[in-house]
């Protein structure tokens, strides 16, 4: 009963803080200072420096990791008892989990998924696991003396088929399993419901155990009760390491490098260079017009069409539209309506950046 009170107290504390923060935002005037007031160093330099930042408290961190090492036997015991391990806490847990896997899980095959990468393809992971499993079953069959089945081929099958193969080949021996390490099971490529369902389905098989890490505070929202209790069967471990998120952070933008003039012009140039010369020329017409008429909302679409057609950059409205779609997709161009109700095209760059861009293009 005291627990209920505590929970209520916590909830109250949470809402109080939330509304305090909201109130503060309303009453006091927000600081109007701009990021551009900081003299930001070049992005390249920033990235290089960021890569070589020395870690603070390295000694304490390694002591912390050594402390976790004493828990490895307990973790194995928990895995053997049929639970999945879920590691959370601040700091990269990649090193910790991989050290655990390579030093303590030598009896079992270990597959690692780097969930922080945007390019994870679960079907391929399933294929790899299915191959490992059929290999394992084959060797067991050999040792037990019975004849082995013919070679299975997986690549042509669908995810469901592979899952049903994995389901079908569950063995009686409870202590025979493959460990699946998932770094950042809350990572960008795995965040969608289908991937989580597939992983949960995989975790529910008796010969698969999952060891996963989460970093996002809201990660538990990815799972419903069925997944948590019946499939993943999580056992939580709070293991803050304070180790830097080196590889996990590679795909995140640097906050200070983002949005600066040089950056946008550079990316725009890269996009434009990959387009056809005609599309580039259309863009140039638009840019020239915008530089010549800085006070207007942008160039009316009809004017752009006639100007482009005159110079034989486009043959029809359809071609122009396809170029414009390309520009819009890459946020090179925005549409607006001017005071006359005409549709106008506008490049969301400052005149300086635009000039720089034109210079880059002509080189």
């Amino acid at each position: 009963m005291e627990d209920i009170d505590n929970i209520e107290e916590d909830d109250f504390g949470f809402s109080r803080n939330y509304f305090l923060a909201k109130e503060l935002g309303g009453s006091s005037k927000r600081s109007a200072r701009k990021l551009s007031d900081i003299n930001i160093v070049d992005e390249q330099e920033l990235r290089e420096t960021a890569f070589s930042i020395e870690t603070k408290h390295e000694k304490e961190i390694s002591e912390l990791l050594n402390e976790y090492k004493t828990m490895y036997p307990k973790w194995i015991f928990e895995l053997r008892c049929g639970f999945g391990l879920l590691m959370y806490g601040f700091g990269s847990k990649k090193g910790l989990i991989e050290d655990f896997a390579s030093s303590s899980l030598t009896e079992y095959s270990v597959v690692v998924i780097n969930g922080y990468l945007p390019s994870v393809n679960l079907k391929q992971v399933l294929l790899a696991i299915a191959e490992l499993l059929s290999e394992m079953l084959k060797s067991r069959r050999k040792s037990s003396g019975s004849s082995s089945k013919g070679q299975e081929t997986f690549p042509s099958r669908s995810i469901d088929d592979i899952l049903s193969f994995l389901h079908g080949s569950q063995s009686e021996d409870k202590d025979c399993f493959i460990c699946l390490v998932v770094h950042n099971i809350d990572g960008p490529a795995l965040r969608d419901p289908e991937s989580q369902q597939t992983l949960a389905h995989l975790a529910s098989f008796s010969h698969i155990r999952i060891i996963a890490s989460i970093d996002h505070v809201n990660a538990p929202l990815l799972w419903d009760k069925k997944m948590v209790h019946k499939q993943f069967n999580w056992l939580w471990h709070h293991v803050p390491t304070f180790a830097p998120y080196k590889v996990e952070g590679v795909f995140f933008p640097l906050v200070l490098a983002q949005g600066s003039t040089a950056q946008t012009a550079k990316t725009a140039a890269i996009v434009l260079q990959s387009l056809t010369p005609n599309a580039q020329n259309v863009f140039k017409i638009l840019a020239d017009y915008q530089l010549a008429h800085p006070d207007e909302d942008g160039m009316p679409t009809e004017d752009l069409y006639s100007a482009s057609r005159e110079r034989f950059f486009v043959s029809s409205q359809v071609t122009l539209n396809s170029h414009l779609t390309e520009f819009k997709d890459h946020e090179l161009v925005k549409t607006k309506r001017n005071s006359d109700g005409q549709e106008c095209l506008n490049i969301p760059l400052s005149p300086d950046a635009l000039r720089q861009l034109l210079l880059d293009l002509s080189q």
Partner: protein, 727 residues
């Protein structure tokens, strides 16, 4: 896709250096996935040899003894020996089987009801006229009369919004019906997605009925399968376990299709309904609803099942494993406040059991509690010198001043622990039986009676009873509630209470004798109650006999509460008061809580706000809450963020971060400024600035990974948004 073989060949290193990534590891960092290593056969084979040796050993007890010894010698490394795992398996499988048995029993009535309904309806369909084969496999549905389009449907009310408990119920139902000869297919909400349409669920049906490789969605395949090879002797059952989550249009469409074919293939639909019985009306179309001929079945509620499970696992002879008062309270509050599903309760129990085995070396003795025909004192044969020492260091042992000199008493204590029937359990069940009249839950009674410090006898003094009457609001003790309710019971209820007590105490003569003594009084009460004419006679005449009945009843309830008092006084000894109870009782509530329910939201924030508590460094913990440059960068930044409102101005945030990292007193600042003015053309602080900016970026990125802030939007390019406000 080829998984790396180079990495697999790398020998696993166990030094601290392995935390630092090497070149090969760096290559692995950017692969979506890779095989770290394959199972090594060496260590596996030793394990099997060990197991074999144990099995072949002529005296298993001796072998075990040697293993315990070796476990004691190499404490730490082999702490979690094979034996420990084996005993855990034994104990847990016993508990698990008990739970499964209880659930099976609680469902069996509903299951057989459904089965009878299916066969009755099936017989009525068949008697209305069987189709010839040629007629049945025609590619268009047979249309005879409108009533033949009806689909027999069972609505199974789960009385639980959470589906997770009922997944296994429906699985059991499926296998139960299969064992009775029905053709059963199970569909769930994932099959009824709007994306795949009705084709998806038809395919699912065909795959389960006809063959697993079917890839077309054609209902005629189902019809011809049903008519072939004698399948038509049995009904076809389709189970949809979570009706509310299905796409209504797809389910309606499937119902329409199946009802068109109902004459050829008599399909019975079983729909799990977790909200209210009118749920199908809300999700199905009117035309589909018309085709349903529904019957209702109701499963037992989670609280009822919970009580049955508790009784079977903890209060009836099961595995011997039990939990302490605090752990029970934790499990109760998790069940009531957080989850409310039996599944999670069972999982909690499993975690508790697992942690008991991983924390308590003597837990392996539980194996002997699992075996039914146990010779007295045999458990102690397992005790070696090392484990003995541990046993006599247990808090419950030192507290009771039991020393090694009384070593020979150990078998007696262990016997007491193993004593079955356990009088405490009997008392709890008796109170539960009395509490049923007040709708008390066994869960509450169980939690309260486990309390080793409870003083129940205070409720028996007359003023306490009077007080309890006035104290209606607030939480009252279960014992108090039971006593209060006793006085409201009718003679019939009292008599049934006595009967159930008699049954419960049958194996325990001390209490049973007391209960039997009550019978003569009960007879007088019944006699007083059964005097002819009392219920109908006018008040005037009845008053005398009524008052006599009341008097008898009062005397009776006093006698019953005296028996309750006797039971509580003599036998209410919760497990935690017994010496050596640590062997079978799990007590570490904190460990259980943290393993059961991680709280990333608050824990990650407190990691950052109190980083020095985790890192245990000397440099940062010295000066209270002041921000020091030696602290972890992300920690500094997050503490700074606490000062801001919902949005944080990046410029301000950066500047304060910079100030923390490069603290100077004001004097130094001014001199630096004047210096700066002098030689403005030079760039004195460029490298430091770059490093601070890089560290700022890194810290912001780490906060973003943790989900504590949202990055600047197009609309608000100079602000980040805080996403969490409390620890």
């Amino acid at each position: 896709m080829a998984p790396s073989t180079t990495v697999a060949d790398l020998p696993p290193s166990s030094t601290t250096d392995s935390f630092n990534s090497s070149a090969a590891a760096e290559e692995n960092d950017i692969r979506p996935f890779f095989v770290l290593h394959k199972a090594s056969s060496g260590s596996k084979s030793t394990a099997t040899v060990k197991a074999k040796r144990r099995i072949e050993s002529p005296s298993p007890k001796l072998a075990k003894r040697s293993e315990i010894e070796s476990a004691g010698e190499e404490e730490g490394g082999h702490f979690f020996s094979t034996l420990r795992f084996k005993v855990f398996e034994t104990v847990w499988s016993k508990i698990d089987n008990t739970i499964q048995g209880v659930l099976r029993d609680s469902n069996s009535k509903v299951f057989s009801g459904i089965h009878d309904w299916i066969w009755e309806s099936f017989e009525s369909i068949r008697s209305s006229g069987a189709l010839s084969l040629s007629e049945a496999v025609r590619s268009y549905p047979v249309l005879s009369q409108p009533s033949s389009k009806q689909l027999f449907t069972a609505l199974v009310l789960t009385r639980n919004l959470e589906m997770v408990d009922d997944l296994s119920t429906f699985e059991d139902l499926g296998s139960h019906l299969k064992s009775q000869g029905c053709h059963v297919a199970k569909l769930s909400s994932t099959d009824f997605s709007a994306k795949n349409g009705v084709g998806g669920c038809l395919r699912g049906l065909l795959r389960q009925f006809v063959m697993p490789t079917v890839d077309v969605a054609d209902v005629t395949i189902l019809a011809s399968w049903y008519r072939e090879s004698g399948n038509d002797k049995n009904p076809v059952v389709v189970i949809v376990d979570d009706t509310e989550r299905c796409s209504g249009s797809v389910l309606s469409e499937l119902i329409l299709i199946l009802s068109e074919w109902a004459v050829k293939v008599p399909v019975f639909i079983i729909m799990g309904v977790s909200t209210a019985h009118d749920a199908p009306r809300k999700i199905l179309s009117a035309s589909a609803l018309q085709r349903l001929c529904a019957t209702r079945f109701t499963l037992s509620s989670p609280a009822e099942r919970m009580d049955a499970v508790l009784e079977a696992v903890f209060l009836k002879p099961c595995s011997g494993f039990t939990v302490s008062h605090k752990v029970a309270l934790c499990m109760r509050s998790y069940f009531l406040c957080q989850d409310g599903t039996l599944t999670s309760f069972v999982k909690t129990l499993k975690i508790a059991c697992l942690q008991h085995f991983s924390l308590e070396p003597l837990s392996i003795m539980l194996e002997h509690f699992c075996q039914d025909n146990q010779l007295p004192g045999e458990g102690t044969a397992l005790l070696t010198e090392a484990t003995m020492k541990h046993a006599f260091d247990l808090p419950s042992v030192t507290r009771n001043k039991i020393t090694r000199s009384t070593c020979e008493m150990l078998p007696q204590f262990l016997l007491d622990l193993q004593r079955m029937p356990n009088p405490w359990c009997i008392v709890v069940l008796c109170i539960y039986e009395a509490g049923k009249f007040d709708k008390l839950r066994l869960l509450d009674i169980f939690c309260e009676t486990l309390d080793p410090e409870a003083r129940y006898l205070k409720y028996f003094s007359p003023p306490a009873i009077l007080n309890s009457q006035s104290n209606v609001s607030g939480r009252t003790s279960v014992i108090r509630r039971v006593l209060r309710k006793l006085r409201d019971l009718s003679p019939a209820q009292l008599s049934s209470l006595l009967k159930s007590w008699e049954r419960l105490t049958a194996e325990f003569s001390e209490i049973n004798d007391k209960v039997m003594e009550l019978h003569p009084f009960m007879r007088t009460v019944e006699a007083a109650g059964q005097r002819p004419g009392i219920p109908t006679s006018p008040k005037k005449h009845a008053s005398r006999s009524n008052s006599k009945l009341e008097k008898e009843l009062k005397a009776m309830t006093d006698k019953i509460s005296a028996v309750i008092e006797f039971m509580l006084r003599e036998y209410m000894k919760p497990v935690e008061t017994v010496p050596f109870h640590e062997i079978l009782c799990f007590k570490n509530v904190d460990k259980l809580q943290s393993a059961l329910l991680g709280d990333p939201r608050s824990r990650i924030q407190s990691d950052l706000l109190e980083s020095h508590n985790i890192l245990h460094c000397m440099c940062c913990s010295q000066r209270g809450t002041t921000l020091l440059p030696s602290m972890h960068d992300t920690s500094i930044l997050y503490m700074l963020a606490q000062e801001h409102a919902e949005v944080i101005n990046l410029h301000d945030w950066y500047q304060s971060f910079k100030t923390i990292l490069s603290p100077r007193n004001s004097k130094a600042k001014t001199t630096l400024k004047s210096k700066k003015r002098k030689d403005r053309c030079e760039e004195p602080e460029a490298p430091a600035e770059a490093s601070i900016q890089a560290r700022f970026c890194r810290a912001v990125m780490e906060l973003q990974i943790a989900g504590l802030i949202r990055m600047p939007s197009k609309r608000r390019p100079d602000f980040v948004q805080r996403a969490a406000f409390s620890t």
